[in-house]
């Protein structure tokens, strides 16, 4: 009956197609949760992605045991990470547009501020897109960790990697992205 549970259980053995059907649902739920959470946060606190994603999971997925197979969860988190990324990037874009005086005059309601400065996030998003072309697995690892707040162990399991490999990937990905973001900054502000 529940669409997410259905998609997940349907996909228990499938690979890779989950996000496209799951994403819109997870996206909407996360966006709502994020707005609620960001509105609640005190200044200086950060968005707790883990809690958000976890809550979205509880809300969207039936607690029936057969639905909660690990494979289903992996799909869910992949979708959640992607959704989270879109939410934040979208917010950052809008914020940037507003800052430059474009778009409309008044602040749209969803634009509840509690995240990184828009430029940082947009730069990261761009770098991550490039990185995904070069190395999709590591890019997914970053996405799971940074946007869905998964621990290195959980992210490793989602991607079918050993912990050691995941740590190695993570270190490399972080350096790669940092280097990219920094050199981008330098280009813009000589």
């Amino acid at each position: 009956m529940n669409e997410v549970t259905r998609i997940l259980s349907d996909l228990a053995n499938g690979k890779g197609h989950a996000a496209e059907r799951l994403l819109p649902l997870v996206y909407d739920e996360l966006r709502r949760l994020a707005a609620a959470q960001m509105a609640r946060e005190k200044p200086g606190q950060t968005l707790d992605a883990t809690a958000l994603v976890h809550e979205a999971y509880l809300r969207l997925v039936d607690a029936k045991p057969q639905a909660a197979s690990w494979d289903g969860r992996a799909h869910f988190f992949a979708a959640a990470a992607e959704a989270m990324r879109r939410i934040l990037v979208e917010n950052a874009r809008r914020k940037k547009r507003l800052k430059h005086g474009g778009g409309r005059r008044r602040v749209p309601l969803e634009d509840v501020a509690a995240e990184a400065p828009p430029d940082d996030l947009l730069a990261l998003d761009e770098a991550l897109t490039q990185f995904a072309e070069e190395d999709p697995v590591k890019a997914r690892l970053v996405q799971l960790r940074f946007f869905a707040g998964l621990s290195i162990e959980d992210a490793a399991e989602c991607l079918g990697l050993s912990r050691a490999t995941a740590v190695r990937h993570w270190t490399y990905a972080r350096a790669w992205l940092y280097e990219k973001v920094r050199s981008g900054e330098k280009d813009e502000n000589p």
Partner: protein, 972 residues
């Protein structure tokens, strides 16, 4: 991954594994050999890696939560789910928590801190709980429950008091002394109640008296009986404790007996003393022993001061407060001189009686103090009296025992004591005789005050003075005074009326303002006519003659000006204003407006300097659409520089569109202007409304909610404010709190779809599917042509801001698609069916996610309802139609799945296959799938169902994966 990238990565990883810089350098030189580009790339990455970990790159802002503390937001204790921490004392932590059963409500949960659960602390904690449980008073937070956590630490649950400390509330709200006293009385009564139950609070101070709004009325609640002590019997066997010699309580509010080294002898009068300190602070802004003083003195000295030092009377303290005085007075909406005068006499006596060092001379009970304050408020003679000469002598004797012999002292006492009694009797009689004269004088001075305040545009002071005037009984022949009173009231009323027109316009969105212009014009015309100024009918000069000498001439001229800006062509208005306001510049501007010459207007304004603006004129022009933003800002800023006390300027500043650009700084600036406006006019709903708007995108959501609460308190009929308050609370997740304002908003403005959808969201999140469906239905009933897609285009950005829509219109769809599922889960498939029927008719979107899931869910609902399942099964006669509708939906969904599978056979087959499998096994559909069930249906319909299921099976077979992938490693 390209071979090249691969190589970079493996060298990078190997280099990182080297522990010393030397090793690393050697390795890199060797691994990269002559490949400079490679070496540069690896170096850059290594540097980035170092810097990235230094800069916590990718660890913020999306940090995975750290290991949770033993308790914290999110933890469950019994049926309670902890939300945020709201207080922390030495031994315990107080959380806001949600109780989930047997009732859903928000509570305060106090739990002993980990590591603090010593026997002593547990005893004290237990004592507090028992003490609270004994009491039942509207001004005391009630205990609802108690227990121990999984780790064995005790906790108890109290009514959640969402309030601010008494003194802060009074200052923030700029309560007058009278308002403060009115709030103080119930605090005394609460403590009286505790005293009657045998409980002494022992730590009465502002932060333990929280003021919260119930139905817009401030209600003080006494909290934290944390150091309370039972009077008659020990509340626990292990008497609670304050380690020997350590004073418990907060020094500023501590009674002399509590400051004794062995403070065992403490009774209810100790709380009376603390109440006295509280009252002292409410009136003067400082405690008798100031914080400053307490900070400077050593602990033993502090205790001595508490025991021995006579504090100055409140009125004396006030006059000594020097440069603080204007601020203190402003927070009490009273002129400095009047404030001191107000305190002198009765209030001084009441406070000083509560603050007696010798408790036998204090009020016997908290109720005595309350009664005396009430007597003062009712203009009755108070019980407290000035310390008599005899008393002062006694004090002198006590302090200088060595100098006086006992005998001399006794003789003196006796003589003076008799005299004092006689004097008091005579005084009572004289008092009665003087009452009439006193009333007249009081009225006269209240009227003087009111007139002065009217002229100075201090409306709050006018009201205070008029209140006082109204309380005076007038004798029959006081015609002159009565007339004067009526005339002042009429002026006040006019000020209020003009203000209201303006506020009403200010509270509208730009779009609505345009629509409303004609209404406002009529309101102005009517207001002035009602006041006796028939603009356009009478000659301008005659009207000008009437306006000039008025007490409120300034306000009238501003009002006429506002009206003119709305309607420059109103007959007679321009001439009248030219007479009343004969400034050549402003006349020229008016001319340009009346003649509809925007170019001329811009030209004039560009040349203007600060001296030519009046606040009203500048404020009106600052909103004029013919001028560009920067120009308007400049006008307002220039005008503000020379009129820094103008409410309308401050408010208009906060309306400047440039302020709405999303930069944090300008939002802050905006909020600043609003706060300035509030400081100038603390009762202005619109100023709070703007503040709530300014805070809207900020992190200070609590501040935003507070501002909105203030708006609804001040303007209870303002539907939009109720709606926004509800929306803000929903956004914060305070679902229960959100319902009241949302209901109120709907009551006031039943056709507002935004409010209905916000309500639907709130109810859906609470699990009230039925209510959510109902709200959503109402929301849609008000949509243009009842269509969601129209609403999406209709939802212009300006409106969505203005209306504070939670999440845009798609929310309707999303909530809509979840509601049928919720309804089925609560056993109401028929309602789900009806809902789907509406929802399906409403959306033309062929977005797969929405249409697919809705069709399937709708078909499930139809199957369940038509087979008589659930709590709301339709009568048998209606069932075939429901079932047939289900058939249509399922058929449509099947078509969608076919299309979906066809779009990408390789990728999508498995999903489709699984889905069809689900269809063939879903118990919800049994009644329309089982052969035995289908056999009961009429032949034609049966054939259709059979046909459908054959198609489902064939699609399942067609999409059957050739070989299922083996389950991935790690799956159980």
């Amino acid at each position: 991954m390209s071979p090249e990238a691969d190589r970079v990565e493996s060298i990078f990883a190997a280099a990182l594994a080297k522990t010393s810089p030397e090793e690393r350098a050697t390795y890199l030189a060797e691994a990269c050999a002559d490949d400079d580009a490679l070496r540069q790339r690896v170096d850059a990455l290594l540097r980035a890696s170092d810097e990235a970990s230094g800069a916590s790159f990718l660890t913020t802002p999306h940090t995975p939560a750290a290991a949770p503390p033993s308790e914290g937001p999110g933890t469950r204790i019994g049926p309670y789910k902890l939300l945020q921490k709201i207080g922390e004392g030495g031994m315990g932590v107080v959380y806001m928590a949600d109780q989930e059963h047997p009732v859903r409500r928000r509570v305060a949960l106090k739990v002993i801190k980990p590591g603090m659960d010593s026997a002593q602390v547990v005893a004290r904690f237990e004592a507090e709980r028992q003490a609270l449980a004994l009491m039942d008073h509207p001004n005391i937070a009630r205990v609802l429950d108690a227990g121990t956590t999984d780790s064995g630490r005790p906790f108890f649950v109290m009514e959640l008091v969402k309030g601010v400390p008494l003194t802060k509330f009074c200052d923030d709200d700029r309560l007058t002394p009278r308002g403060r006293l009115e709030l103080f009385v119930p605090v005394c009564q609460a403590l009286q109640h505790a005293h009657q139950k045998g409980i002494i609070h022992r730590d009465v101070k502002p932060s333990n008296v929280l003021v919260t709004l119930y139905d817009g009325k401030p209600v003080p609640k006494v909290i934290d009986f944390g150091v309370a002590k039972a009077l008659h019997q020990p509340l626990t066997e292990r008497t609670m404790f304050t380690a020997f010699g350590t004073a418990v309580g907060t020094l500023e509010y501590m009674s002399p007996e509590q400051a004794e080294v062995n403070a065992l002898d403490v009774d209810t009068r100790s709380d009376v003393y603390s109440l006295g300190v509280l009252l002292y602070e409410l009136l003067t802004g400082t405690t008798p022993l100031t914080r400053q003083r307490l900070r400077e003195a050593a602990y033993a000295e502090v205790l001595r001061l508490i025991r021995e030092e006579e504090p100055p009377r409140p009125s004396t303290r006030l006059t000594q407060s020097g440069e603080e005085l204007p601020a203190i007075s402003a927070r009490r909406q009273t002129e400095p001189a009047r404030l001191a005068k107000l305190l002198r006499g009765e209030l001084d006596w009441i406070v000083m009686k509560a603050l007696e060092k010798d408790r036998a001379r204090r009020y016997e009970a908290a109720s005595g103090l309350a009664r005396d304050v009430e007597r003062y408020l009712n203009d009755e003679a108070v019980e407290a009296c000035p310390p008599s000469a005899g008393y002062r002598l006694r004090k002198f004797a006590r302090k200088n025992r060595a100098l006086l012999t006992t005998a001399t002292a006794f003789a003196l006492l006796l003589a003076v004591g008799v005299g004092a009694v006689t004097w008091q009797v005579a005084d009572r009689r004289r008092e009665r005789e003087a009452a009439a004269t006193k009333a007249r004088q009081a009225l006269q001075s209240a009227l003087d005050e009111a007139e002065a305040a009217l002229k100075a545009d201090r409306p709050a002071d006018v009201d205070t003075a008029l209140d006082q005037a109204d309380q005076r009984q007038l004798d029959a022949d006081a015609h002159d005074l009565r007339e004067r009173l009526a005339s002042v009231k009429k002026d006040r009323e006019m000020v209020r009326r003009l203000e209201k027109i303006l506020e009403q316009r200010w509270s509208l969105s730009a779009k609505e303002r345009t629509l409303d212009a004609s209404g406002a014009k009529a309101q102005y015309a009517e207001a002035f006519r009602g006041y006796g100024l028939a603009v356009g009918d009478e000659p301008a000069e005659a009207i000008a003659e009437a306006v000039r000498p008025s007490r409120i001439a300034g306000v009238l001229i501003d009002g006429l000006g506002e009206w003119f800006f709305l309607d420059p062509k109103q007959p007679g208005l321009q001439t009248l204003l030219d007479k009343l306001d004969p400034n050549p510049f402003r006349s020229a501007v008016r001319e340009a407006l009346a003649a509809d010459q925007p170019d001329r207007l811009r030209e004039l304004v560009a040349k203007a300097d600060g001296t030519q603006w009046t606040p009203g004129f500048a404020a009106a022009l600052g909103l004029h659409s013919a001028l560009p933003d920067p120009e308007r800002r400049r006008i307002l800023q220039t005008a503000w520089d020379s009129h820094p006390n103008s409410f309308s300027l401050a408010l208009t500043m906060s309306l400047q569109p440039s302020g709405f650009f999303a930069s944090r700084e300008s939002a802050k600036e905006l909020a600043g202007w609003c706060r300035t406006a509030i400081a100038l006019r603390p009762r202005s709903a619109v100023a709070y409304f703007y503040l709530s708007r300014a805070l809207w995108g900020s992190k200070d959501q609590d501040g935003r909610v507070r501002a909105l609460r203030k708006v609804v308190q001040l303007a209870p009929e303002f539907a939009r404010a109720h709606a926004l308050l509800g929306t803000a609370l929903v956004s914060k997740g305070d679902l229960d709190d959100a319902l009241t304002p949302l209901r109120k908003a709907i009551e006031l403005d039943p056709g507002n779809r935004t409010t209905h959808s916000t309500m639907a969201v709130a109810l859906a999140r609470k699990g009230d599917w039925h209510g959510a469906a109902e709200s959503l239905r109402r929301a849609r009933a008000s949509l243009p042509e009842g269509r969601v897609d129209t609403a999406i285009t209709d939802n212009n950005p300006d409106d969505s801001y203005e209306e504070g829509f939670l999440d845009g219109v798609p929310q309707i769809l999303l909530t809509g698609s979840r509601i049928p599922i919720g309804l089925m889960q609560v056993g109401r498939p028929m309602e789900a069916f009806r809902f789907c029927q509406e929802l399906r008719g409403l959306t033309t979107s062929d977005d797969f996610v929405y249409s697919d899931t809705n069709s399937y869910n709708a078909a499930c609902a139809a199957a369940l309802a038509s087979s008589g399942q659930g709590l709301d099964a339709p009568p048998p006669a209606e069932r075939p139609a429901v079932r047939q509708q289900g058939l249509k939906w399922l058929t449509a969904d099947l078509a969608a799945w076919r299309k979906y599978a066809a779009a990408d056979p390789v990728k999508k087959d498995q999903i489709t296959h699984k889905t069809m499998n689900h269809w063939l096994t879903d118990p919800d559909l049994t009644s329309v799938r089982d052969e035995a069930e289908l056999a009961k249906l009429p032949g034609e319909e049966r054939a259709k169902w059979q046909h459908l299921w054959a198609d489902v099976k064939s699609l399942r077979e067609r999409t059957r994966p050739r070989e299922l992938l083996p389950p991935p490693a790690g799956v159980k």
